[in-house]
C-alpha cells in the first residue's frame, strides 16, 4: 500500500486544475474568474485566431492568373473549374506587334469537394493562389459553397503576410501581392 492512496493523489490533480481555472492569477486575485482560466473560448463572441499558415480558404489574386490550368489538373478531387480565352492586347510601344494575352472567364472552387490539401496553391507558378486562415464560410445550401472568382478574390484581403523563417533556414520569405 503506497503512502498516499492513488485515488487521493488523482483527486489532488483535479483539485489543482480546478483552482488554476478559477484563479488564473493565483493568490493575487481572490475573485474567481473561470472564463479567464478556461482553455476554451465562447465561440461566436470570442474568436480564435488560427496560425497564419492555417489552411482556411483559398484566395485568388486574379491579375496573376493566366488560366494555365495547372491547379485544376493537379487537384486530387478536381474541384477547380477554369475557363479562359486568349485575346490580342495593343502593343506596348508604337509600331510593335500586338501581344497575346490570356483572360480568365471563370475560376470556381467547389468547397463542398475540396479536401484542403493545398496542392493547387503549391503548384501555381504565377502566385495567383494563397491560403487565408479565414474559416467562417459555411452555407445553408451546398450549392453556395461553389465560390466564383469574385468571391475568391474577396478573400484576398484576409491573406496574412508570410511569416519569417526560423534561423538556419535557407528559404526566402515571399511577398503577398496586394
Amino acid at each position: 500500500m503506497p503512502a498516499v492512496p492513488g485515488l487521493v493523489k488523482g483527486l489532488g490533480v483535479t483539485f489543482k486544475t480546478m483552482l488554476a481555472t478559477l484563479f488564473p492569477d493565483g493568490a493575487k486575485n481572490p475573485i474567481p474568474r473561470p472564463s479567464a482560466g478556461a482553455q476554451t473560448v465562447q465561440y461566436p463572441h470570442v474568436k480564435e485566431s488560427p496560425a497564419p499558415r492555417a489552411r482556411g480558404v483559398i484566395a485568388l489574386h486574379e491579375e496573376n492568373c493566366t488560366a494555365c490550368m495547372l491547379c485544376a489538373r493537379e487537384c486530387p478531387d478536381w474541384c477547380i473549374y477554369i475557363e479562359g480565352h486568349k485575346y490580342l492586347a495593343p502593343p506596348r510601344r508604337a509600331g510593335g506587334s500586338p501581344r497575346q494575352k490570356n483572360a480568365l472567364d471563370r475560376f470556381d472552387i467547389d468547397y463542398s469537394l475540396c479536401m484542403f490539401c493545398g496542392i493547387c496553391v503549391e503548384v501555381c507558378p504565377f502566385e495567383a493562389l494563397f491560403w487565408s486562415p479565414e474559416y467562417e464560410f459555411s452555407e445553408l445550401r451546398i450549392a453556395d459553397l461553389l465560390h466564383d472568382k469574385d468571391r475568391l478574390g474577396e478573400w484576398m484581403h484576409t491573406v496574412p503576410d508570410f511569416e519569417a523563417y526560423e534561423s538556419g533556414s535557407e528559404q526566402k520569405t515571399k511577398k503577398v501581392p496586394r
Partner: protein, 390 residues
C-alpha cells in the same frame, strides 16, 4: 421476371441470417451480443460479435470494413504528390506519421535523400504526431474504464501540440507536409521556442496522468491481469508497437530500422513491460509519450541549417521498382509496399497498417473474458478505425 412473395421472404430471411440480426435473444446455446458498429468503445464503426455464456465470452469475432474507403485502389489513380493527402486520412490522429513511410519508400525508389534539416524536422513532426495521438489514447483509455476527467485533460493538452503542428504545416489534422525529397516549407520564426514550452506542458500532462490514471486503484483493478497476451502469442499474431512492447518484447523500428529518420542522434530508451495485460499496454504508451517528449526536446536543440528540399524534378515520375518501408507509427508498424512501373502514379500500393494486424488477436484474447472487460481490452489494444479499414 416476377418474384413471388415467398421468394422475397426467403431472401429477406437469408439476408437477416447473414447479418445475424434478431439473434440477440436466442438463449438456447448462449446469447449473441453485437457490439457496434455504433459503440463508443469501438472508436468508430467496428462491429464485434460476441457469443456469451452468461457474462462470459465464449467466442468473439471482429467484423470490419464498415468504413472501407479503398485507399489502396485510389492510390493507383493519383499522382505521387496527391497520394500524401489521401494517406493522411488513414490514422487520423497521427496524420504526419502516415506520410513518412510512403515518402521514404518513394525516395528509396527515386534514389534521392532528403537533406539533413528536412530529416530532423520530419523526425520532430513524427514524434509530435505520436504525442498528439497517444495523449488522446491515455485519456480515452480512462474514459472507457469509467473516468471522465482524463479525456478532457487529454483534449486540452493535445490541442497545444496540434496548434504547433498547424503553425508549421497549416493543418491541424491533415498536414500534407512531406514531399518526395524533403518538406513543403521550413519552420516559421519562433517555432522552436514555442514548441519547447509545449513539450514542457506535455511532460506535466504525463505526470498528471501518472497520478490521475495509472496510480488509481480502481483503474488498476480494472486493467491488471485483464487481457493477458504472452510474448510468443503476441509475436505469432503479428502485433506491433506498444501492444508488443507491453508483452515484454523489446522491438522498436525506430531503433532497429531508422531509415531516413534521425533517431540515432538522440538519447532515448525503448520501454517494455513484462506483464502483457491491459495495464502494461497503457503503461508502455504513457512512458512512450514521455520518451517522445524527450526526443523532441533533444532534437529541437540542434536542428542543422541548410536546405529543406533535395533536387527533384518538377513532375515526379518514380522509376520502375519495388520498395517496402515500415516505420514505428503511434499505433505500431506501418509500412507501404510501393510498386512502380515508371509512371506518374504508383502501380500498386499495399498498406500494412498497424491496427488491422493488432485486431487479429481479438478472438484469441477475448475468449473467456467477462463483458465489461471487453471494453478494457479493446481500449488497451488501441486501434483507429481509419487505420483498420483504410
Amino acid at each position: 421476371m416476377s418474384v413471388s412473395e415467398q421468394e422475397q421472404l426467403a431472401y429477406i430471411a437469408a439476408q437477416a441470417a447473414d447479418a445475424r440480426v434478431n439473434l440477440e435473444l436466442e438463449t438456447e446455446d448462449g446469447m449473441t451480443l453485437n457490439m457496434g458498429p455504433q459503440h463508443p468503445a469501438t472508436h468508430g464503426t467496428l462491429r464485434l460479435v460476441a457469443k456469451l455464456d452468461g457474462e462470459q465470452v465464449v467466442a468473439a469475432e471482429p467484423i470490419m470494413g464498415y468504413m472501407h474507403r479503398g485507399y489502396e485502389k485510389l492510390t493507383e489513380v493519383r499522382t505521387y504528390p496527391q497520394v500524401t493527402t489521401l494517406i493522411n486520412r488513414i490514422d487520423w490522429l497521427g496524420s504526419f506519421a502516415n506520410e513518412v513511410p510512403f515518402i521514404l519508400a518513394a525516395e528509396q525508389l527515386m534514389e534521392v535523400e532528403a537533406p539533413p534539416r528536412a530529416q530532423w524536422i520530419r523526425t520532430i513532426l513524427f514524434e509530435m504526431s505520436r504525442i498528439a495521438n497517444i495523449s488522446l489514447y491515455i485519456g480515452d483509455m480512462a474514459v472507457q474504464i469509467g473516468a471522465t476527467t482524463p479525456i478532457f485533460f487529454a483534449f486540452r493538452d493535445r490541442e497545444h501540440i496540434l496548434n504547433q503542428i498547424e503553425r508549421v504545416t497549416g493543418g491541424r489534422f491533415h498536414p500534407n507536409f512531406d514531399r518526395i525529397g524533403g518538406l513543403k516549407d521550413d519552420l516559421p520564426a519562433g517555432w522552436i521556442e514555442e514548441t519547447k514550452a509545449v513539450i514542457k506542458k506535455m511532460q506535466t500532462f504525463c505526470d498528471q496522468m501518472d497520478d490521475l490514471v495509472a496510480g488509481n486503484e480502481i483503474f488498476q483493478a480494472r486493467t491488471r491481469g485483464i487481457g493477458v497476451i504472452p510474448a510468443e502469442v503476441a509475436l505469432s499474431y503479428g502485433l506491433s508497437g506498444a501492444n508488443l512492447r507491453g508483452s515484454g518484447v523489446d522491438w522498436d523500428l525506430r531503433r532497429d530500422q531508422p531509415c531516413g529518420l534521425v533517431y540515432d542522434q538522440c538519447d532515448w530508451k525503448v520501454w517494455t513491460h513484462p506483464d502483457g495485460d491491459s495495464y502494461s499496454r497503457f503503461w508502455v504508451r504513457l512512458q512512450e509519450t514521455r520518451e517522445a517528449c524527450n526526443i523532441v526536446d533533444q532534437l529541437l536543440d540542434n536542428i542543422p541549417s541548410g536546405p529543406i528540399m533535395a533536387k527533384v524534378p518538377r513532375i515526379i515520375k518514380v522509376p520502375a521498382g519495388e520498395a517496402y518501408v515500415a516505420t514505428e507509427n503511434p499505433l505500431g508498424e506501418m509500412g507501404y509496399y510501393v510498386v512502380s512501373k515508371g509512371d506518374l502514379t504508383p502501380f500498386r500500393v499495399k498498406i500494412r497498417s498497424a491496427s488491422f494486424s493488432n485486431m487479429s488477436i481479438c478472438p484469441w484474447v477475448l475468449k473467456g473474458v467477462f463483458v465489461p472487460d471487453i471494453i478494457a481490452i479493446l481500449g488497451s489494444l488501441y486501434f483507429i478505425l481509419g487505420d483498420i479499414d483504410r
